[in-house]
């Protein structure tokens, strides 16, 4: 060893001091860096969030204004005359509710365990500026126990879901029902729904609101209906072949109706049914009849293929074909068509219902028809004791 070399080049003590210094500096630097990153994040948040905060404030103001500006009718109770109607199609003779020149009248309702249809006629001072083909509304159907069977709007284009959801929440709040953001359309009760035009006469447009439940609706006594968000859309194909559509609002007002169901409807009971001999390829999970309707749920061989064929157009005249997948006849040769057949949560699962058959029809022979392998199979329907 050479002392001069060692003194000149051996930096152990110097290095130690530098290590301590650098270690503290590094930790400080990390802390400083974190502080700076946090500052940048806050700045970025302010820069990016401020417009959205302003947008939210602006929207809140607009929404409050919207709430103030709309007119909400009193709930009009409609009474079914049991002497005239024994269901399931109940005619209602009531006076229309008029708000800002638009009259709405509930003409009739159809109610079974699994289906509810409400027929409403709207009357305008001048219908010429409304596209009756696409005219529809939002609707809310709920019972006396605040069970919401359906709450949904018409097709909206280019509007933020947030705004629409906020409106639904407002409607839920106003009727005192619990709002479940994860179940906006009450899928726990209603599995399929439609709002379609029944007819147009003069300045009147009649719509049919239909909701369907596979498992069945609760045994309600009173059905409440709120009609809102009246409007239509215009669609056209542009020169480059793309569809262009624009939404038009007709009214933000709300029409409220309440229907007390007749005793016969409340007293209805279910009778389980089955087929006399099994139809190969058909499994029935639920096959019941009440005073007001018949419900069928099960699996049908090839049903998935049928649906696919209907969707991709390989099955011609799908509408006509679908009516013959499951239907009922009687010994007198009458044919009972079901409501639109729908899929059910398992492979080849289907469900449909019949509003045109009730318990009274059990006094004659009924036959269930099922389309298996594109062939009509038939078996007698009997009570399942």
């Amino acid at each position: 060893m050479n002392k001069a070399f060692k003194d000149y080049l051996y930096k152990k003590d110097d290095n130690y001091e530098k290590i301590l210094e650098k270690s503290n500096k590094k930790r400080f630097t990390r802390k400083t860096l974190l502080t700076r990153v946090a500052a940048i994040v806050i700045i970025l948040f302010l820069v990016t969030a401020t417009p959205s905060i302003y947008a939210k404030i602006k929207w809140n103001i607009e929404f409050r204004e919207f709430k103030r500006s709309r007119t909400v009718s009193d709930k009009i109770s409609l009474i079914i005359d049991e002497n005239v109607d024994d269901g399931p199609n109940y005619i209602l003779n009531s006076n229309p509710i008029e708000i800002n020149g638009i009259k709405a009248n509930v003409d009739s309702i159809v109610a079974t365990d699994n289906n509810i249809a409400v027929i409403v006629t709207y009357e305008f001072n001048d219908v010429s500026n409304i596209n009756s083909e696409t005219f529809s509304t939002g609707f809310l159907i709920y019972d006396e126990n605040k069970n919401v069977y359906y709450c949904g709007g018409r097709m909206h284009l280019g509007e933020k879901t947030q705004n629409i959801n906020a409106y639904y929440k407002l409607l839920y709040d106003e009727i005192g029902a619990e709002f479940d953001r994860k179940d906006l359309f009450s899928a726990k009760y209603t599995q399929s729904t439609s709002c379609g035009r029944e007819k147009v006469e003069g300045n009147k447009i009649t719509l049919r609101y239909q909701i369907n439940s596979i498992s069945g609706y609760p045994k309600f006594k009173t059905l409440n209906i709120k009609l809102f968000d009246l409007g239509y859309f215009m669609a056209e194909r542009t020169e480059d072949g793309k569809m262009s559509a624009e939404n038009f609002n007709v009214s933000n007002d709300e029409w409220n109706f309440s229907i007390d169901m007749p005793q016969r409807f409340l007293d209805r009971t279910s009778v389980k049914l089955k087929v006399a001999n099994n139809i190969e390829g058909l499994e029935l999970d639920k096959f019941e009849i009440t005073e007001t309707g018949l419900n069928v749920v099960g699996t049908l061989k090839d049903f998935g293929e049928y649906v696919e064929g209907g969707l991709n157009g390989t099955i011609e005249n799908w509408g006509e074909f679908s009516e013959k997948i499951i239907y009922i006849t009687d010994e007198e040769g009458n044919v009972y068509k079901g409501n639109e057949i729908g899929t059910y949560g398992k492979e080849n699962g289907f469900h449909t219902s019949f509003n045109n058959i009730g318990k009274d029809d059990l006094n004659k022979k009924l036959y269930l028809h099922a389309c298996i392998g594109y062939e009509d199979k038939v078996e007698e329907i009997i009570i399942d004791n």
Binding site: M1, N2, F5, Y8, L9, Y16, K18, I19, S23, R27
Partner: protein, 176 residues
Amino acid sequence: MRYTEDNFKEIYDKTYDNNLKYIVLKTNVDDANDVIQEVYIELLNKLKKEKSIEIDNIDGFVFGITKNVLKRFYKNINLDKNIFVFSTEDTNEEIADSYSLEDDFINDTNISLIWDEIRKKEDVIQKIFYLYYVLDIKISDIAESMNINESTIKTKIYRTLKELKEKLEKEGDQDE
């Protein structure tokens, strides 16, 4: 044994020379101080962060950090292989065991000049001088570590010293 930040100085003193030797062997004399600082900064920060670390073999633990630091320092270095390239001209030169390395002309006043001259030499000479004169490592150990014949190391030291001595004398004459 559990080590904390308070044990840092103790670990530093115990392991410094061996790690510095390894670093000098694997890198170069110029970078050695920077690398060894990084090693012990990392160790100190670990102790600060973890508060207390259970370490069975402190030499192995620090050596592991050293290897990681070296990998980062020279990303492409393969630490398991000898990275030195030597000239072969002196390799087989016979040097007597009694050969004396006269270095008493080196002192505090000329060390700066001498080290500047050594740094102009090939990398292996710088390493040999650093390991021998600074870290006080035996020539036999240096030879083994660097995989060079002992006599070759001695010859390199002898020739360099001779050259340095002549240079100093020459410069002394010029000054007079």
